[in-house]
Amino acid sequence: MTEITRRNALKLMSATLIAGAGVSMLPGMAFAAGTITVLNWQGYGTDEAWSIKAFQEATGIEVVHDYYSSEAEMLTKLRTNPGTYDLVVLNAARCAQAMAEDLISPIDYAKVPNISSVAENLRSNENFNKDGVGYAVPWVWGLTAIAMREGLPKADSYAVFGDPAYKGRVGLQDDAVGAIAAAALLTGQDMNNPKDLDLVKETLKGFKSNVKLLWSTEDQWNKSFAAKEFDVAMYWSGGAVRSRRVSKLPVDFVVPKEGGIGWVDGLGIPVGAPNAEGAHAFANWMIDPKFYVEWATKAGAPASANTAAMESLPADDLSRQIHKPEYISSMSIMSALPDDRREAFNNLWQEVKAFYAE
């Protein structure tokens, strides 16, 4: 009896080995010519299934994704995986850092014809350019502000994060820059260069009894909101539209009197990208009005950097209503931080998180 089972086991093991060796050759074939690897947040435009399918039909290029859960992780992934990614979505505020570390290469705008209708102030944004050379295609802009459960009185200030009425009902973003920006705006400071960091720290610490969750991704935000883990949270403008429309969640997006925390996301091509040609084509696709309108109306999106794309959006569309054109000139926009300030921000946020965890 044991003899037989032993022999069977050997057979089984060798069969597995052979099967394994056979299958290991498959992925190599699947990833042959015409692939680009995109590094982005999960569920943020580039990975819409219908768009990837249409893009592949139009160009023959297959789009695969890798995701990050914070902008710091995005940079580290670029640093430790040279020659892996073809296109990366990066916040303008992080772009300067990526340029300084030689992580992204100049864009060949001739291969991105749609750039012609991109707003000039975005295209020449100092964070996307170095020595007159552009390093990223401006893609979308939006704002981080407050999202609330439908039916609750609409908050008019970031002070709502400390409002005793929402004890244990608040979700903040686990991001040093975003959290500090909200506290800086609340205390009347420049969010990119708050003079009184101690005040920022104390303000954030003051939210402690309200903070239920530090979220890092949209997916996590949706799941927690659906499970009624919080009622009020920092959130992205485009995310709020998607949560409402795609996930059918009762979310209201509110911009407080201190103003939203603005950001611009660009598309960069990492140094050593194996398929820079395909990456340029996909970047062009991403700022095409056709893609944008479909993305914004089917799912929900921040505002396109492409003026033509914004204009082709129906006037009553939620994405358009949330992103009022005047914001782009009136709100504060996240900009590049010098190394020492970035480190100070990171240490401050680490300390606040440790305080929340106590």
Partner: protein, 259 residues
């Protein structure tokens, strides 16, 4: 007393299995956001069949585990022969050197491997994962095979030789068959260690080459659907099956217990 003991064991079993069963059940729930009430659906299993990234990672896990089992069993058995059947100076030091892969938190071993492989140009990816997994599995193999050795009397081999058998013949005719269950047990053990390994894989995987646990972790952090439940269910059932096969070979309370 006996009754109380059995009720207690039942409670422990409920504690151990409840989350696993809930996780499996949620793989059959319609809602993408894991909302209740439960409504039965196999859509996530259907979606899984199209998820190349997860399927490929699952295949990678199995391939890595099989190769790890083969290499670590060969190497570990050889070392075990020397450690069990020979006397030499520095033996206890060598035995002590088997401990780091087990005793140092994997977080530290894993990050150290990342630093060294990066700095030395070995890089990351499949070969790096194999180097790491084999190193983790070897100590277990040496222990399991060593336990097997301790149950075989050395004088059997000598008796065979005194009856005219050559040492090679004695080893293959007497020792190896007796040792075989332990070696097979060690191989399955190594397979399970590798299949379950997450921490080291996490630091050594690349965007293009990762294993299932790494994919599951990054999905949990970056966004997931109940497809994760579906593949986890398959993974759990797979490794449970492997262990049940193992348990049939070496009776419980045999090889593993003497570790």
């Amino acid at each position: 007393m006996t009754q109380l003991g059995r009720i207690y064991l039942l409670a422990i079993l409920i504690f151990l299995y409840t989350p696993i069963l809930v996780m499996m059940a949620m793989g059959f729930n319609e809602s993408q956001l894991y909302e209740l009430p439960f409504s039965f659906s196999t859509r996530w299993y259907v979606a899984l069949m199209d998820n190349q990234q997860l399927l490929k990672a699952g295949m990678n896990s199995i391939i890595i585990a099989v190769i790890t089992a083969v290499i670590s069993t060969c190497l570990g058995t050889m070392a075990s022969i020397a450690l069990s059947r020979r006397t030499f100076r520095g033996k206890s030091l060598l035995q002590l050197l088997l401990l780091p892969p087990i005793a140092i938190p994997w977080l530290i071993t894993g990050t150290a491997m990342l630093v060294f492989f990066y700095w030395s140009g070995i890089g990351r990816g499949m070969h790096a994962l194999l180097i790491g997994h084999v190193a983790l599995a070897i100590p277990y193999v040496v222990l399991v095979v060593g336990t097997g050795f301790s149950t075989i009397r050395a004088d059997l081999e000598e008796a065979a030789m005194s009856l005219g058998s050559t040492p090679i013949h004695a080893f293959f005719a007497v020792t190896l068959p007796l040792l075989f269950p332990s070696i097979l047990g060690a191989a399955l053990f190594a397979f399970a260690v590798s299949l379950d390994q997450f921490v080291i894989s996490y630091f050594l995987a690349t965007p293009g080459y990762s294993t299932l646990p790494v994919q599951i972790y990054s999905a949990i952090r970056k966004g997931f659907t109940p497809e994760i439940n579906a593949i986890s269910t398959l993974l759990l059932l797979g490794s449970m099956a492997a262990i049940l096969i193992f348990a049939r070979f070496a009776k419980p309370g045999d090889v593993r217990d003497k570790r």
